[in-house]
Symmetry: D2
Subunit: 438 residues, 4 copies
């Protein structure tokens, strides 16, 4: 007989880990998820952090009374053996690589951001070979396990897995759930009374219709937002979209749309911030250091409230909800990244999209979308083409695909800049990019 | 019994007219096209030019011995009655409007170009209401006539006609035929030995395969071009694409791709040119003035060689070839703009595309294309979305569609700049934009 | 403030009415549906039946203690005024027309069945003009009401409404819910533990995957069925599919598939039954007469158990569940007929399909399907083409469309027979087919 | 330097060979095709026929003065080495197998025809393994050669090659060219003045528009045909379509449509013919025997006129025209079978379709078709699904695919009959069906 659930978290030394641990504790206590083992896996360079956050996890579990065994290990294969769910939140090259991703584009007057534009491209090049390696291990050691990916760029990484592996994978992001929460706050109601029909790509998703208690309140929400109450996230500078655009769109853009809709303003902001207070990565690095200081406190046995500022709120909520609905065949609706398969008619069938899915024991089933409105369609299509080329480049190490990817990206849009930024990325990440053989 | 062919040229006072007249003369003399009447139509403001160029046309015909009656008129409806072919080469707002189209975007550090980006948007807003008016007249007065459009932006204008009129319309451009000629020159062979498989949109078309005498020479040509022999056109600053991009693409870009692939360089060039020697429109204005001075010479009875510098070479060749193949059911292959209908699977069915078509008495039949390669696809899709929104805006006068169109255009790509440039365009063109009721 | 719900049932004099009334009573008593008014509407010819069944409905409600006002009327427009939900279960031409539909095809050695083949074609020709008339009234009198159609052929009728009216319409059928119940019985579990992924057309729907408690049991179920335990319905002769076919399919066919997969056997059975015991319509006519005798009993105040034999089991369950989920924004999954919109990639976007949908206050949202397996695809496509032509014929009265529809139908498949059966149908139904003007 | 062209004809002992030889002679003499070697290849069982027809070929060439070397061989690999064009006209199992294909279906009251229905299915099962074997040899011995297939069922065989081999293949049929000739005769004009827009599948192709000298005469032609002048072919019983159907269709069906549009009549005719005068195969067997008697005559050095009755008129014309246009990069339009690639939007991209193509040195480029009219679409889709399953079965030997293929074929349409006919086919062809391992 099957015993309790075995969960593996790759990148277990992440500062986010207390969030997901809290989520697991709650579901175990409620009786929904009979979690027996939680493996936190990291690599040699992350060993110290793994120890710190792993010890906190153990204290949290002990305090809660939930009967979950926590295992800390650097041996990924041992951890994966017979796993039921694998979550990923690792960062190839650590925070230093992120900071480089943010800074290289700025040299050429291009937006430098962790997941979008040239920075996101660099992150994808480092991450995809590693995730595919993990999947190869999973195919051998736990072929029936679910991979719940929230390693960024989440949509691109998930698509790489869907195209190049047999592992059942679902990509997650905290953006949609964050947007639901913002609308709920706007109305002063609980999040479960708000429902949004999402469609698009990860970090380029729109809320096409917004419902409060089943009533379509999209226009009302957009009017609110046009007045300045825009949804925001910790990771993104808080710049408001112009109200004329919001009215013209008629749909709710996500926080990352600022990079596309206000590219000039955001570039200036990135440049200024980098100079005055450091890039977001540099800010986060400090934040993380102080978080780890907190985590070391042997008396701390709950998730510290300071973690909320880190920018990943709702990640753990999304992951735990997803695992819960799969395990319990709940058939509820969640916002995830999944193979398109034609749900958005304007995109190829084999790419990843972000949309509303019915979640059951057999995975995520997209609620059909059809065609996107023209302006959403055009932007989505060009960014998706960039993403496909990015994956091809990451898998093959083909410079030509990489150059084409960056050239058509709306935040680069120039082949000379594309070449310069690409050459710098390849040079400064070469230890992480074995696929690019010169 | 049907008598000879009646051709109507709207915008007959254009400086290009001697080209097309020369084409008509040649086909009449060769016996291919029994042209009986040629109506040159213009508007009140163009009366003087019409007189000048019309007189030249008459002298050219007399000299040639071709028996074609030339009619000069400001009465469009009289001209259209029972026409067989209607060609359009008019310019709403005259050269002054073009110069404005080029200058307004420069204010906001955006590329200012006649047919591409915000400038092309402005031209489309002025032109579409007029072409649809012409089509309404045609539906009444010559419903079976063919409309051969080469009014720019030719693809957008043709799509507007295909969507909003019952008139049989084919859009023309001199870009593909120009590219064929450049390749022919490269090899020192006649143009009929070069064949290119084109696919894309007007002014955003790629040669996917290039053949010399049926042999695929695409790679060879790209290597030539990577070494600096890029195809160029008079209307476009002669900036070379970087060779890494050309290699990565593996297909032949058109001259207008420079605006997309070298957006930064081209912007700087536009700004510099505007300051130092005037925009292309200002240069052309002078050129045209000197052309009209030439045309006035009562002894001139041939197309003056100076016309070649004007930038529209091959327009008349394209138009006369097309009329000839339709009239004579030739089933040869020409490069035209036509309803997609699924020939490019990655675009909506009801949009205009530019591609190779078999031309016969019943029109232009696209040779099937299928899917575009990923990087071509992404760029084509976002520009097409811009074009569709541009047409919606031009037909309805809907500010929201206009703002979305400009916001997603790769050469604008920012909603704040989009709003500013849009507001200026609407204000400074208001006499030509009755559809925008405030 | 909105008062209670107003429901209108067109064809209220149907023998099925006690079923749906029972459903309404239960939901009212449970507090889920605050139904205030129930209008049972019928036509002059159905007045007597309306009185009988309407009186029974009133007695049932009184007995139950549910506070619902029942109105019996021949004035459809009065009933529709401000309705919230309109259900349809009418039969143009009454049972006599059905019997003709069954008999005419038999003359030409064609299967004669109420909803499938030439018989279903005839029923569609009579029904579509009437339903579109009802929709026209609804557009005027209750434009926001939901039309819940289960008038057969339900998929075709629903598609006609979706194509030719603005009314929000959802088509229902008892086949999917019936299949779920059969599988539940097979396992001896309650129906809510069985979940089937349906895809196809009304009366041509397959269960692509069958789950018990979230576990895929499709192969197991097919093995059961291959051994002879095939799902059946009262309206369809109980002939077993050959086990080789079931194995080859790998999916669960619906009861109506027998007409396609066993066309020869079913034809012989139809011919024999017609001769020996009368067509299904004739059997049902007697059944209905005895039902109405029962209904007349002034002491009867519950749904009589004999109704179960009538063949429409689960209709009311489907309808009441659907209304409940719409009204209460339940976001549960039901099996309905809805605009394809690309959910099945192999069919046109504007046709009706039958599939799993998430039901909320805003209607039915299909769970995306993608491509059908090849053999399902081929059959579905040809039957859908028949359906589209059938609707075109019914709306326009175009003989050519009708002839093409029948010629390609797999159960006719011969233009000479198609013509003969069509001519008889048109002649013998002419009072109900004003659209066919000779 | 490349010497003259090397052509290989597989199935060189066919009675058709004198036709294609005549074609090669004419093109060689005209200077269009510098054919140097013609290899006629056959198998051991066909050795005698190969000798007879090969000797005739040599006499024909000698008489003509064309300098072509004819090689007769049983060694396929020797023949294929460095070939430029390979044509195929072989018959696995010889005429005896064809006669069985025609007779087995008749046992179950199903149409028995060489290429359509269950007979065509059987032929495909025998032929596909052999053609794929030939292609494997070609990949090794002449990877750049063109395969010109007219082995029946030509569309299915071509699709199998396109899906399972890298060889450049084009499928041919004499049906379209035959229809053009019939229309030309109807008007008493030469065939080059008639142009038809074809779309569909091999042996299920429609002429959507018919032009005489570029003028659309479709309606006129259909009226002629409705009066009884239907196009016919020697291989198909001469039964007229009913005029009501022809009017309803509005397009020109091909001769094989009779099997679909007059299935009942054709079945009766097949049954009667089989009893009274033998199946078509039996008739042809006698015809062939007398042809071979003629061929033996050492004084015969031209194509004997009796060959015209054989039923394959225009095959050689089609093949030689195709080779000519490829070799000479002619860019003319021919009617061939080719990968769909989306040219017909209603079919999968990877299937074979029959349509108008521009032929040049690089192959056949379909003129885009778009959507088929509804009734054409439905029939085409179900037959294509049958064809896809037939290919899957032939390649894999999977009984399930075979059973599904036959079950959905409009000329079988019953799974019990499908099983019976399939079992007989497999049993009686087992020596030719190694892929079906029991």
């Amino acid at each position: 007989m099957k015993k309790g659930i075995k969960i593996v978290t790759i990148g277990g030394g992440s500062s986010y880990t207390p969030e997901i641990v809290e989520g697991f504790i709650n579901r175990k206590l409620s009786g929904e998820l009979p979690i027996e083992d939680l493996y936190l896996v990291d690599i040699e360079e992350g060993k110290e952090k793994l120890e710190i956050v792993g010890s906190l996890a153990k204290r949290m579990i002990e305090k809660s009374g939930a009967d979950i065994k926590v295992h800390l290990t650097l041996d990924r294969r041992e951890a994966l053996k017979d796993a039921d769910f694998v979550t990923t939140q690792f960062r190839v090259g650590l925070m230093e690589a992120r900071i480089r991703d943010e800074k290289i584009p700025l040299r050429y007057n291009l937006i430098g951001q962790e997941t979008t534009g040239a920075g996101g491209f660099a992150k994808a090049q480092r991450t995809i070979p590693v995730i595919l390696d993990i999947c190869k291990d999973m195919e051998e050691l736990c072929p029936k396990a679910w991979l719940i990916n929230f390693t960024n760029p989440s949509g691109i990484v998930t698509e790489a897995v869907l195209k190049h592996s047999k592992i059942k994978a679902i990509g997650l992001c905290n953006v949609p759930i964050g947007m639901v929460n913002v609308i709920a706050e706007l109305y002063g109601v609980s999040a479960d009374r708000i429902y949004i029909e999402f469609a698009g790509l990860n970090h380029l998703v729109w809320g096409r219709n917004i419902y409060k208690d089943g009533i379509n309140v999209t226009q009302e929400v957009l009017e609110f937002i046009a007045k300045g109450k825009s949804p925001n996230m910790e990771n993104i500078p808080d710049i408001e979209l112009n109200k004329e655009l919001i009215e013209a769109l008629g749909v709710l853009p996500c926080p990352y749309h600022r990079y596309y809709y206000l590219s000039d303003t955001m570039l200036q902001k990135c440049l200024k911030d980098a100079e005055e207070k450091g890039t977001r990565g540099e800010v986060v690095r400090e934040l993380e250091e102080s978080l780890f200081e907190l985590y070391k406190d042997p008396n701390l046995n709950i998730k510290p409230p300071q973690l909320a500022k880190r920018g990943g709120a709702h990640y753990s909520e999304a992951a735990v909800n997803l695992i819960n609905s799969i395990y319990n065949d709940k058939k509820d609706i969640q916002y995830v990244n999944i193979r398109n398969n034609g749900a958005i008619l304007d995109l190829p069938e084999d790419v990843a999209i972000e949309c509303n899915c019915v979640i059951d024991k057999n995975g995520a089933h997209p609620i059909h979308i059809g065609h996107l409105e023209t302006s959403m369609r055009g932007l989505t299509q060009v960014v998706k083409a960039y993403e496909e080329l990015t994956i091809e480049a990451a898998v093959s190490g083909d410079y030509n695909q990489a150059l084409k990817a960056l050239t058509i990206h709306p935040l680069v849009n120039d082949s000379i800049k594309a070449k310069k930024v690409l050459d710098d990325i390849l040079e400064e990440n070469k230890e992480y990019l074995p696929q690019y053989k010169k």
